[in-house]
């Protein structure tokens, strides 16, 4: 994902990458935008993802999976990253309940990168894109490229 091909080809390849991750596939994640350390990943609502039976609101753990994946994709799309990545830590703030039935969309930005660590922040919204559902900040590893 580090070559200089045009946007749609890159998104296609990234989508292949995401559908190769069983957990991201099980949640129905889709890459909507990708490049230069920024990623937008979205996923549909589903009844089996509900965390509060009284309100029908999706579980926070689903939102963290979406943001974790989106942050990882942002790191891998950074021009200087040529290897894989793993989450070191991720803090998530839940600002409001997502509307039941609505699609969730996360946007992550890798805002600083060193040789060993990428610093990322992300925001998730439902179909009301003006009012964030949750935000995240995290640190991700930059694995040393394998030789040979």
């Amino acid at each position: 994902m580090t070559d200089a091909t045009d946007g749609p080809v890159k998104i296609d390849r990234a989508q292949q990458f995401i559908t190769a991750l069983p957990y991201a596939r099980a949640l129905g994640m889709r890459i909507d935008e990708l490049g230069e350390g920024v990623a937008v990943v979205s996923m549909p609502f589903a009844d089996h993802l509900v965390g509060d039976p009284h309100s029908g609101v999706i579980h926070g753990g689903v939102v963290s999976a979406l943001m974790d994946t989106c942050c990882g994709a942002a790191v891998l799309s950074h021009p200087s990253v040529r290897s894989s990545t793993a989450t070191l830590d991720l803090r998530i703030d839940y600002m409001r309940a997502a509307k039941p039935g609505q699609r969730l969309s996360a946007r992550a930005e890798c805002y600083h990168i060193t040789r060993s660590v990428a610093f990322v922040r992300a925001v998730t919204t439902d179909e009301d894109s003006e009012n964030p559902v949750a935000s995240a900040t995290g640190a991700f590893t930059i694995e040393a490229p394998r030789h040979g």
Partner: protein
């Protein structure tokens, strides 16, 4: 004060009913296949391995989002369990295992900070949570997950929660 001569089967069924009522109503807990082992009032959350939990198929390793969800669920259930324990034991709450509304509503997560310590193996994972502080409105919970070796946790987290009103 609890009745020392209360039949053991009655004690166990009351406690298991309370746990069941907390967990059974949450679709996402069922979808992940998480269940809870209980020893007295101590809970251990169990996440049985499933192919869909994989996030890195090359290693393979559990998805960080699956681990985070597991920690959050372990923390929420522990918090709700701890907060309602006295009411269940003293008969002020009568849990019905088939009716989640027989127990208080679950706390709401304000924030969770997860540290990933080792990559999760394609095996069962376990988690135990500790309520560090529980007030009328807010609570702080620490939680740790491990797999084969209790001394080598795969992840730990701290979360803050808002307690449900009236309970």
């Amino acid at each position: 004060m609890a009745d020392r001569n209360e039949p053991l089967s009655q004690i166990k069924s009351r406690r298991d009913a309370a746990l069941q009522a907390l967990v059974a109503g949450v679709p996402f807990i069922r979808w992940l296949g998480i269940h809870f082992d209980r020893r007295g009032n101590e809970l251990t959350a169990v996440l049985p391995f499933d192919e869909k939990l994989i996030g890195n198929p090359m290693l393979p390793a559990l998805h960080g989002g699956a681990t985070a969800a597991f920690l959050e669920i372990a923390a929420i259930i522990e918090l709700s369990w701890t907060a309602s324990w006295a009411d269940v034991e003293e008969g002020r709450l009568i849990p019905d295992p088939t009716d989640p509304s027989s127990m208080p509503r679950l706390p709401k997560t304000v924030d969770m900070t997860v540290d990933y310590l080792r990559s999760g193996l394609p095996r069962d994972a376990y988690a135990r949570a500790r309520v560090v502080r529980s007030g009328r409105r807010y609570a702080s919970v620490q939680v740790e997950a491990w797999q084969d070796d209790r001394a080598r946790p795969i992840a730990q987290a701290t979360g803050h929660f808002v307690m449900p009103k009236n309970g």
